[in-house]
Subunit: 235 residues, 2 copies
DNA sequence: AAGTGGTCTAGACCACTTG
DNA sequence: AAGTGGTCTAGACCACTTG
C-alpha cells in the first residue's frame, strides 16, 4: 500500500481547509459522499473524518453533518512561532551560532519515532539562538532525509530551520512535551547560565501532511524565557 | 444499545490497569483474543485498543502486541484535564492536602487581572495534590467571590477546585504561561524535593463566558511531571 | 421519508516480528 | 509458519435531525 486511503482523504480535506476553499463552519461532504468520491468504503472515509475531528479540525453532529471547526476552538494553544521572528518582534537583535550540521545515526527509540529503518541516518543540526547576544535557545533537530533531502545544504545563518522546514514541508501537526530540567554542563556553558538554573525543555515531533518530518529538542534558560498561550474551549 | 461494546472493552482494560492486574509493560490480549472473549468482531476490540492508545494508556507494535504504557506523568496542554482524573487514569491513588481556604486580599497587579476593585477580597485556596502519596502539584488559586460565592464552603477532599469550578462556571477561555523555576524553601518542603530541583510553573487565568473566574498557580516538580500535548495547525 | 453520523460484523489482505 | 497489529470492504441496524 503506497499510502493509506484514509490518509489520502485526510490530506484532501486538510488542503481544502488550508486553502480556504472550505471555511470555518462550512459543511463537508457526508461520509457516503466521500466514500463515493474516493471509491472506498464508508468506514474508511469515516476514519479520516473521525481523526480530523479528534485533531480539532472538524466538528460532527449525528443527523446533521460534519463541519469545519472554528479556528480558535482548540488549536493555537502554543502557536509555534519562529524564534527569530519572535526576537525581532521584540525589537531585539537576533543572531545564531551553528554548532553542528551533519548526517547522524540515531538510537533506537528516536529512530522509531522518526519512522527510520535500522541503519538509516537522519540529518542533525545543533544551533544556539541568541537575543541581543544572550543565548535564548539551544535547538537540536533530527530531520528525515527523504522528506527534506537538502537540509544539510542550508545556511542557517540566513534562515532558521523552522522557517526552512515550513517551506519545504509545511507543518500540519506536532506532538510535544514540556519539562523543567537542569541543563548539562555543556548546555550551561552554551547558554551562559549557572548549573542550578532551571531550564524549560520542549521536545517536539513535527509532521507535515505527508508524515513525520523532524524531531526537535529546544532548551531555554528559565530566567530568560516564558511560554505563553491562550486556550479557548467549546464546552 | 445500552452501552457500546467498545466502551465496555475499554472499561474492562482500564479496570485491569487501574487495579494493577496489568502492570506497566505487561502484554495485553491480542485483538483476536479480545474479540473472542467479548464475542465481538476484531474491529470492535481494535477500536477499544486504538482509543486507549491515543489516550496514552497503551502502546502497540505491529507484529508484537499491545502493552500497558509507561506511567510517566504526562498531560495535555490543549486540554486542561482534572489532575485527580489524570492521576486515577494512570491507575494511581489520588490524595490531597488542603493547606488553606480563606478570604484574602490580593496585591495590586493580581487584583487588576481579576478585575477586582480596591478593597475587595478574593477567595483563596492552597492545596497539594498527591499521586501515590508523592506530591505532584501545589495549586494556589484565587477565585472571584461574586462569580463563585460558595467557593469557601467546598470540601476539596471530595471534589477538586477545577471540577467544582467547571460545574459552577464552565471554562470558556484561559490564558497561561509556562515557566521553569526554582521552588521556594516552603514549596520544596511541600513537594518533598531538593532545593535544586527545577519545577514547572503554570500560571493560568481562567474565564467563563461571563468573564474572569480565577487565577491559578500550579507548581510541579520537574522530575515527576511532563506536560504533553498535540498541536494542529492551520497554516 | 430521507439523510446524517454512531456502532458493529465477518470477512480479507498486508507488513511486521518471532520461533 | 504462526501470530501480531494496520488497513479495508460491503454490508447492517441504529439514533438523530430535517423537511
Amino acid at each position: 500500500m503506497a499510502q493509506a486511503k484514509f490518509l489520502e482523504i485526510k490530506h484532501y480535506i486538510l488542503t481544502k481547509v488550508d486553502s480556504g476553499d472550505w471555511q470555518e463552519g462550512d459543511k463537508l461532504p457526508s461520509e457516503n459522499q466521500l466514500a463515493t468520491v474516493f471509491s472506498c468504503s464508508r468506514m474508511t472515509a469515516r476514519r479520516a473524518l473521525t481523526e480530523l475531528t479528534e485533531q480539532g479540525i472538524l466538528t460532527r453532529s449525528q443527523g446533521i453533518g460534519s463541519f469545519v471547526a472554528s479556528n480558535k476552538a482548540q488549536s493555537s494553544v502554543l502557536l509555534i512561532r519562529d524564534i527569530r521572528q519572535e526576537i525581532e518582534l521584540r525589537g531585539h537583535i537576533y543572531s545564531v551560532k551553528q554548532l553542528m550540521l551533519a548526517k547522524q545515526y540515531v538510537d533506537r527509540p528516536l529512530a522509531e519515532q522518526l519512522s527510520l529503518n535500522e541503519g538509516e541516518p537522519a540529518f542533525y543540526s545543533k544551533l544556539v539562538h541568541l537575543e541581543e547576544g544572550m543565548p535564548l535557545q539551544i535547538e537540536e533537530r533530527y530531520v528525515l532525509p527523504n522528506r527534506v533531502p537538502h537540509y544539510l545544504a542550508q545556511n542557517f545563518n540566513e534562515i532558521t530551520p523552522h522557517v526552512y522546514l515550513s517551506q519545504v514541508a509545511p507543518l500540519a501537526q506536532a506532538e510535544q512535551t514540556i519539562e523543567a530540567v537542569l541543563a548539562t554542563d555543556c548546555q550551561c556553558t552554551l547558554l551562559q547560565i549557572p548549573k542550578t538554573e532551571p531550564c524549560l525543555q520542549i521536545s517536539r515531533l513535527t509532521a507535515s501532511s505527508q508524515g513525520v518530518v523532524s524531531f526537535a529538542k529546544l532548551l531555554y534558560p528559565g530566567t530568560r524565557f516564558k511560554l505563553g498561550g491562550q486556550l479557548v474551549f467549546d464546552n
